[in-house]
Symmetry: C2
Subunit: 233 residues, 2 copies
DNA sequence: AAGAGTATGATTGTATACGATATCAGGCAA
DNA sequence: TTGCCTGATATCGTATACAATCATACTCTT
């Protein structure tokens, strides 16, 4: 294996290139609270008191409140004025629905991305796919999951549409971090890789029809892998 | 016309029943700034200084910052840490894209809504439609637009899906308030009514296929009415 | 004169103080 | 005992104060 390949590895796994958000107190708080909610560490219906979070994270109320704002807009908590913030529970129906919504946007995303992607971005996508292949063969689930995220994120970026990027990124976080389907993917590494290959080949051929089909399959299979029958809507 | 009908009018036009958000300083600021941006009163690329907004609205920085948070998550401004908030401009491409995204979600929404709507909600939807008919005949564009919003909002609520509700509500605000298509609707009151009738009838018959078709037509026509050719994607 | 370095002012990030509102417990009356 | 009223406490909403960061302009050096 040539040396240059290892350099690529380093570059590609440094996802600071993709996540151009500079970390800040409210952002960190938001991320942490979001993950805690999705993973069930904070129960549905529980009241989030500002001061409790302040003590827990050793910060003042201002950044806490800003994190709460973000959580509310992402639908994870309800803020009732003068009452407090309450954790919204995701039912199985909600998660099942989410796969349907994600499928609708993701198919649009691949269509637009194929039309709007630059040659440079296409090369990056190829690198990302190659790395997924590499990590799948190695059986490195963690790195594989990371590249999975990057791969999809690159497609989202290529759509040139901020809303699509934001919503799909949220869905990605949801479907990945929810306690319900946590850890399921490791049993299906090869299967997932094959689905990504289909998507990537469609990109390489700039075949929108094939990309849509492959994406639909990918999401539907993902839904089933997470334990949701397709029939449930 | 029986007296009861006027009572219904009053109830239905009181959209506080639908918008269960209690007004607050940050929320009001958010709404006002959002509309100003969408209507072009605040130019794209312009920097929003917290203190300037404070003086303009006679409030302190805290609610201003919270409004900024919301604007950022809706994609209307970019907040660069320690630098400031910058207005993001919507290109024609962005707005054209938005119609496509809205179509995708709105068709899902009517499917789910038909499946999940209660009899009571169905009755309310009928009242809303009847009022649209009434105001169209009267030629009252303002009231008609308001009922238009309510009608769609009721469908969103019937989906029982928070994310769908939030995203579609945003799109509704965008496509209604953007300076580009401001005021176009008054020329097409009857046309719009006919489209809503098709949607409503599909609901009454609980015919998902027909509802999807009618919704697609409604959005596509709306896009054309706003001056966007369907071919542009 | 051009560029780097620094100092100053402006703006944002965070913390805290104060006032408003809601919750809850206890007492009083029916 | 039950219901309502009232006050105390807690929590939230807003304002302000202080700290950190950034932008700008000026000076000094080459």
């Amino acid at each position: 294996m040539p040396t240059i390949f290892f350099e690529v590895l380093i570059v590609m796994t440094d996802n600071s290139l993709l996540q151009n958000k500079i970390s800040s107190l409210p952002q960190d708080l938001f991320n942490r609270l979001r993950d805690d909610i999705l993973q069930g560490k904070i129960a549905a219906g529980e009241k989030l008191t500002e001061q409790k979070i302040c003590k827990e994270y050793q910060v003042s109320r201002t950044p806490v409140r800003e994190a709460f704002q973000k959580l509310e807009l992402d639908g994870l908590i309800d803020i009732i004025p003068n009452r407090g913030a309450f954790v919204v529970g995701l039912t199985k129906q909600d998660i099942s629905d989410m796969y349907e919504l994600r499928k609708a946007y993701e198919t649009i995303a691949v269509k637009w991305a194929i039309k709007r992607i630059t040659d440079e971005e296409m090369a990056q996508l190829e690198e990302a796919y190659d790395l997924m292949e590499f990590y799948t063969m190695k059986g490195d689930t963690t790195k594989m999951l990371q590249m999975n995220t990057n791969f999809h994120q690159m497609i989202y970026n290529a759509t040139r549409n901020r809303m699509l990027q934001h919503v799909l990124t949220s869905y990605q976080v949801y479907t990945k971090n929810t306690k319900i389907n946590e850890g399921y993917i490791m049993d299906y590494l090869e299967e997932v890789l094959a689905e990504h290959k289909a998507i990537f080949m469609a990109f390489k051929n700039r075949d929108m029809e094939a990309a849509v089909k492959a994406t639909e399959t990918h999401i539907e299979n993902g839904k089933q892998r997470a334990g949701f029958p397709l029939s449930l809507e």
